[in-house]
Subunit: 336 residues, 2 copies
Amino acid sequence: MAQRIGQRTLRFDRPPGLLGYAAVVGKKESHGPLHGTFDVVGPDSHFGQKSWELAESQMQKTALQTALQKAGYTLADLQMILAGDLLNQCIGSAFASVQSNVPYLGLYGACSTMAEGLVTGACMVDGGCADLLAAAASSHFCSAERQYRFPLAYGGQRPPTAQWTATAAGAVILGQTKSPLHITHAVIGQMVDMGVKDANNMGAAMAPAAYHTLSMLLDDLHAHPADFDCIVTGDLADVGASLLVRLFEQDGVDITPVYSDCGSMLYGDDQDTHAGGSGCGCSAAVLCGKLLRDMQDGTIHRLIFAGTGALMSPTSIQQGQSIAGICHAVVIERRD
Amino acid sequence: MAQRIGQRTLRFDRPPGLLGYAAVVGKKESHGPLHGTFDVVGPDSHFGQKSWELAESQMQKTALQTALQKAGYTLADLQMILAGDLLNQCIGSAFASVQSNVPYLGLYGACSTMAEGLVTGACMVDGGCADLLAAAASSHFCSAERQYRFPLAYGGQRPPTAQWTATAAGAVILGQTKSPLHITHAVIGQMVDMGVKDANNMGAAMAPAAYHTLSMLLDDLHAHPADFDCIVTGDLADVGASLLVRLFEQDGVDITPVYSDCGSMLYGDDQDTHAGGSGCGCSAAVLCGKLLRDMQDGTIHRLIFAGTGALMSPTSIQQGQSIAGICHAVVIERRD
């Protein structure tokens, strides 16, 4: 049973274990600062498929299979897959698992989807609804670019606040089996709309939601940022991350000693991604690559993973609607 | 705690109560056979909004508020909203709850979304993750038609197997409080892909998934169709419903005495909807209108509500991919 503590935080009586995890990325992502932390790097943008959409599915499928393999399980052991992506009607995730014969819950949380899957999955495992499940998310620069913005061949110019959709996928296997890494707490975020209407500045649209969820979690736990080895958002990128730091500063709280953002971590300054990375796959691959490896080897003991999403569509932007942000968070701890 | 029984069925130790429910529909839907079973009927297709997309959000918002009111609660009492729709990036649901200040989990299950919300919500309530939550879904003929098919003004012709996207929304309030109506069991469905590629014949694409989930549920419960007052799918419509009946016939099982489909129920034969209704709002509004009213007044005591979805997008169809079906089911019982 989960216990509700404080305003919004769920504490799990039987903290679900992270039994396996894997990150799959494209070439560009593998050439960034996190080089060497990914399980699989695609040879090109097609991952052996005939379309970028199928390439995205292939990445997510590979992440799921690799995570399962690392955990010592097969698809037949899984009781549930929770997955989502940015493609219309979430076809990236559907086609990744269509042949799996595993019960499937489709999620949509924009770039917060990996965190949404972990939160929901942890609730399912803790509540006895599954002994073993997978949470997965993906994005692909090429499939996202042509759906949200312009045909790639057009070579559209991007402002400095814009983020670069990562070609990446991540998957985590959660279960009731004991494991050094486990999810102790979760917060399901609410939408926060501060009136941002610039689809090229998602960081600004999402930062207030990240602040809302993280400050509530810290309050509920009576904790300070320094109680964690790492607080990571995904993906505010450089612009949104600076805003989040300033929002906490207004409360007299300095998060900078432990704070990072997956969108800022994934690419180097010389990789021309402007404000940094985004896309469901960005935070998924940084979590399932660098961060969980750091937890596994004991570099990080206590992590807040806060996935952030911008809830909009090309249609809502064209109709003049503002962009609401949302942020779901999990606390992951290492038990030695 | 939920118990897993048989292959896939979850049995809830503390069956979540259905504390309130509401259905909102457009004019066409209100003129069909289910006339008089809906809580709110829109005056026109705009529901007071300037776009059809916002009209859809307004419908879902109204359904949510009406369901809350009927349950004797307000938004401030809700600990979670689980919602989804057919619009790209699920903006119908996002804009319905953006100002709610309630933790929000976005779902995507195509037309199975209402069932997905009930299954996931029941797991959350049973597992102690929420005392009170809402599950909601919506669709709008005009917003769906221009996104999936043609501009309305084009007047595209539709084959006899095509379904008509309902302008409708439904919301259910689930909670730990005792209630005459409650969810006793749930099955999370897997995707089933039988190779159907005709986007104008979703019923055929979804029927095998409905058969898969329903036969597993009946097996797991050691039950026969006659053990239920009503088994309802949503939305296979006429073509898919006939296929489902035939799939069960091959097992020597006759479901016809208790079987209905929300897509077949919503519109009359004279309403020119071809095979019948579809869209997340169709099964949501039929459940939250006719079916739960029938349970409330004791006409139905034991119901299987099996939401069916077709996991595809215009892009996946154009790329020649087949359409996978999925079906999530809940058992709703009335305790006198």
